[in-house]
Symmetry: D2
Subunit: 438 residues, 4 copies
């Protein structure tokens, strides 16, 4: 038994890898992140862990294995001469999309892998953890490039932690039994703060990550963007507000929609956000703790870009660009609701103490921006397999900002760029409005 | 603990329900069949039991539940006043296609049902078995209609026993690890008997089931068919023979194929039977005991109707009609290889002791016939939900005869009509030739 | 100018090739058939002739060219040494599905061939007609095999004459202008005869074509079929009768439908026969003379096999087998409405003078039978390219009998087997009921 | 006869509407543009004008009608009280995508409209032209808003002029006869200029249209963009250069491709630009004057964004952003090859007289940029139906700049934004490289 289990972590208060912590003790952080992933799978049976409900989602077991595959393939094999893989077949089975490494199993077939069984995947994790621990025992003597790849692997794993919950929610939602991931009491009702418009002057702003903290390649390089004057909504759009759009026939008025959005709405018969269901005249919603009445004061969640855009047009507003968003968020502390509240539900925005700042910019729902996911000026992907991490997805997807209630806290920062196709609804994605300065 | 477990059954020597056994002890047969289904699932994990690899196949767990649903819905609910269903939600979850009962879960989504878990489904089985046992304790006082439905339920369950192995084989085959259901030594090589043509005179034959033994509605009513003189092949086509077709570019010559067959072959890129794979110049094949070299003397298996038809045309022959087949099989004893040999591989045909009779007409591979699956003259489906059992599938499918190495022995009889779409390959389906009398 | 034009033909009274006429003057018949095809295209512009509204339908221009291609490829090239094709490219462009001759243009792309233009195709026809005329001038010295192929080519062309009208009707129906092929007054209303059941004793009947008259290979060989006692409806089902099915929610009751039929009905949102449209509370229907009110006494037309089957089940009846149908039709004269009435609408059945015979078995609507299109016992396709004429379609399609109001009269005979996929609705297909003898 | 025909125009030298010409004589410009559209259709038969070869392309007849529909619906109906539409049905038939006006015919079915015939559509054009002429006779008294809509209608029509040739080229290319739109001699071979990198300093640039000349809403408002230092290629990539990519297995190396690009390349089996075909070891290409040998010195054309992006990555470069492109083009005169050369083939870049400027930035091929088509800061679509002109397409498409050899000269300007989906290849689209300043 090699991997030490650390109690006391929860998804939201897990400290992410940071330069200081890394210098002090990368090993502690490593085990913290790895354990957190296991923690997420704990309430689940092997059957739950094996299911894949759509091509875009992956089984929990696959997430558990793939995050280990990352360390084995990109850390252990290069760093440990003579390292014997746990099972050579896993090189193919648990590759995601690194075409330069081995032809991956088609993503749509990940749910068919009943073998290796869950317990074998857990043993694989332990095997990998043992060997990485041995490397980490070198402490400051660890090769800096290797240290970087381990750090990247931990950030990668944290991304998959969010996907574990997101993908699982979708899978459970397809079951007529509407089962819960975790039983939890409904959150105490509280009232969303009033929506205000925060004015921002035109500026030549520095956008993107700088400094020694970890950031993904797509957050870099830091560069200047000229931003015209604009106004940003003080908080995410609520379910109550979105319901007004629904009741005003927003889903049936083509002129409110982008052309591709209207096509998607028709093809998929959308008439409300994903997981909403009207029953006996009122709306309820599927959550990770089962089906419950729609919380009207909570941020609207599980909408596509198309719905966000149509809602904004209906509101005589628009979505913010990612530069606009970042220029505001960069100056704000990471305060928010995301520590105090329970997991798994977006929380109503509290009345802000400071009348000027957005009351809730981080950590409830991912906020669709008007910006397609494109490379920053001067962007250079890493060499080798890691170069496939982000760059090859920079087409056809839209950038989201801010983090959600299922995002690891370490991933909640002003420069973080999330990205999904504009018709994606299974992510914890919501809406913040913006408008041109008048 | 209610269900008594009976040891000593294997799939092929399980006596199916028959009038005599029923009169003597329907309860014994009931438990025998029910236990056999459990036996088939024994080597499997809950993960294995949950997977669905294509729309036409179902998870093993679903088979376990659905066969119990049949007894609960069609026996216990009507027969036991005040019967409380094990779980009302199962009425929907485990319905297959009985539109008159409840809107079923779409067949393509059966693999998403991680709940109820396998152990719950097993408890559901026990619950159902207990209550049916209580009914069966009435012995001869049991209502004859109820007895009929129980008997039908047992035959239904035996059909699903075959599907358990068939569907599971397909699921395992999609895994790059090519795992085995059961480890088994390769069958000892033995030589197929020589192929001969058995001549049959023209006749007005009685076709279909008569008598008091159980038979499905589609085997009835017994009726007369005029059959022209013909010749029937003495045994199924072997892998060796089919390989000659492959090597003669049979898969690349459109004039050998039906129009729809050629379209299917192109769309699916068929170039050999399902589960065949050429590796380093020789062929191997995926089986329930993993991947092994192709047994040249065994019957070819896992071919579609289209491939069977193309092979026959290439051979200057044709497939037999189901009447031709039955007129020959009706006179033959159920001798065959299927008792002696191990499960799971079709067996080479032994040299027949009797030079006239087919040496292997029952129980190795289902044999595609030239006959679409149509109602017999005078066919009347049962009233109510049972009327959906067979009749509504009598379009677009082809009839197969003879039974396979994974068919329960009780289902191997001259009048039995199996049916699948002509592009189906995951069944244990093979080829017997016929030709017009010269 | 080589081809003599003969006036005075109409589609329904055109004498088809028959042995006597052939002996007397095959040339006259040849020109009669060829001219009739041109006659059908006369009301159409080049634009009308070029359009293809679905994969299964072909442009009129393509029909004009392909029927000429048949004579050029299968008559002129083999028979005339040194014959120079009109344009070698046409060998590929206008092949339909003869894989042994040249890879055809995919059927779905026939509507893209704006070149050659219509006038060029008409010149191609003249060129072919001239050369065939030269051959025919040999009179009785013509090689019998060649005579057979010419006769086949004429029957082939007559099949395409029916398709010209059928495919064009579909194309025009997709135009919001709902244009007419020919303006015509609505048929005078007349009342359908009462529906009666004609009893037929069990019999061993001879089925299929015999004799020297032309028949397709699939109508042969003549053979014996044992037919149980049954009853046949005296006339096709009327629009009025079918409307009762519609109004009784027939399209919304899955237990009335075959499994595949219900899937097709859901996928395609069928709720009435093709070309029906409810407007302001009453039904109208698109016809070759435009949109007009539904004629309640006319035979229902443009239904799929699935709808025919569901209607029959709803009526506590079934469809007849093709043997049953032929056994009745074989004894009947070709009297019917098809000569007197105008083209293009099925006609109400007149009250029969003879109380026993069906009042309308030939020539109003093709009647779906319960019989899949399969080879007759002893069927042998022709050698060479002609062997692809019928045999390769003998899977997945259903047989229709009787001929329709747009069928050339020469094709209306008791043994004629038409065949289409069970979801086809654009043919002039209707319903005749049958039931088991009580 | 109302419309005066003006001779002497060709597509490339047609003066587009400009403020001065408008003030002087909008009527002359109106007839010039309208006649030019007719001129493009002159070499075509009605059959040619009716065909639609893929959903994204439209028939020429439809372009002729839709551009007239624009004037009728958006000019004549609002401006002429009591105006009687030529045919009320055309309001629906020839609407493109203005959801607020009438439900359009699905785009995929435009090729099915054989009625109205071409001559009727030409009469419709004349009718519209007559009435617009009457309006234009008001001269300076014309309502300015109406003047704007007419001007927009002319620019709209010029966009469709380019589509007439682009869509027709695709349709003709599907014909195995490979027919020409116009016979033309192959362009005289000439050598492309050497490729150089033009350095550009970082800048805060004004981007977008300003002034009184016509521009589309999407080119506005003019705004500032901060651009980092970069280098721009001096001319488009040539066929010869692209061939090196092909021969270096560029189409078979997934790491050169965007993720979605690789998926598109696999799904569509791309292995060269559209219209290229390898025959007997050398490449030829389909053009509007038929199939001819590939001109190695010409700009590569008919590549998708994905191919452009992969080529750039293979070249250790990238595509330019649209701001980078515009910042360079804004300072350049509209000199280029597009006047001197014949229509329909991109021309090799001449050696530039000025060593600094790009030798060929306008008018040979549309150049894919790295920029998704998004709204400029402060973008406001017009009110009413015209608001659907551009805005609703601002998602999932990429911006192209520069104009092509089939673009009307009036549309060749530095601020013009063309846009297509990244997998589109039937446009005259090519590649210009850029790279970060070193």
């Amino acid at each position: 038994m090699c991997a030490a289990k650390h109690d006391g972590f929860s998804l939201s208060d897990l400290p992410g890898p940071s330069p200081s912590s890394l210098e002090i003790d990368l090993a502690t952080v490593f085990h913290g992140v790895r354990d957190q992933t296991l923690r997420l799978a704990e309430p689940l049976s092997a059957e739950d862990c094996g299911v894949q409900s759509m091509e875009e989602a992956s089984p929990v077991k696959w997430h558990l294995a793939h995050t280990s595959w990352f360390f084995e393939t990109l850390v252990l094999e290069p760093a440990l001469p003579g390292y014997r893989p746990y099972d050579p077949a896993y090189r193919v089975l648990f590759n995601s999309y690194y075409e330069s490494l081995a032809e991956p199993v088609p993503r749509s077939r990940r749910g068919l892998l009943t073998r290796p069984p869950l317990e074998e995947v857990l043993a694989y994790r332990e095997h990998v953890d043992c060997h990485v621990s041995a490397l980490l025992a070198k402490g400051p003597d660890l090769d800096p490039q290797l240290r970087f790849v381990i750090e990247l692997g931990l950030n990668h794993e944290q991304q998959h932690q969010e996907l574990v919950l997101t993908d699982l929610k979708h899978a459970l939602s397809t079951n007529p039994l509407q089962p819960a991931y975790l039983e939890a009491p409904d959150p105490a009702p509280s009232k969303a703060a009033a929506h205000r418009w925060l004015g921002c002057e035109e500026s030549l702003s520095w956008i993107g990550h700088a400094g020694e903290n970890f950031a993904f390649d797509c957050e870099q390089p830091r560069h200047r963007v000229f931003i015209e004057a604009f106004e940003l909504g003080s908080r995410p759009v609520t379910n109550s507000e979105f319901l007004s759009f629904v009741e005003d026939d927003g889903y049936d008025r083509p002129t409110l929609w982008l052309s591709d959005g209207w096509a998607a709405r028709r093809k998929n018969n959308w008439n409300a956000p994903l997981y909403w269901q009207r029953r006996n005249g009122s709306w309820d919603v599927f959550t990770l703790s089962g089906r419950r009445p729609l919380g009207l004061e909570e941020p609207v969640c599980h909408v596509s870009y198309y719905e966000a855009d149509a809602y904004a047009r209906w509101s005589n507003a628009r979505l913010p660009t990612e530069s606009e968003w970042e220029s505001v968020a960069a100056g704000l502390p990471l305060h928010g609701n995301f520590v105090e509240r329970g997991l798994l539900h977006p929380a109503p925005a509290p009345t802000p103490s400071n009348g000027e700042a957005p009351s809730q910019i981080f950590g409830d729902v991912w906020e669709w921006t008007l910006s397609p996911y494109s490379p920053y000026p001067g962007f250079r992907p890493a060499r080798g397999a890691l170069g496939e991490y982000n760059g090859k997805f920079m087409c056809n997807q839209m950038t989201l900002r801010g983090g959600s209630c299922v995002s690891p806290r370490a991933h909640i920062r002003a420069t973080y760029r999330n990205f999904f196709f504009p018709d994606a609804r299974w992510q914890f994605s919501g809406i913040r409005l913006a408008r041109n300065a008048t």
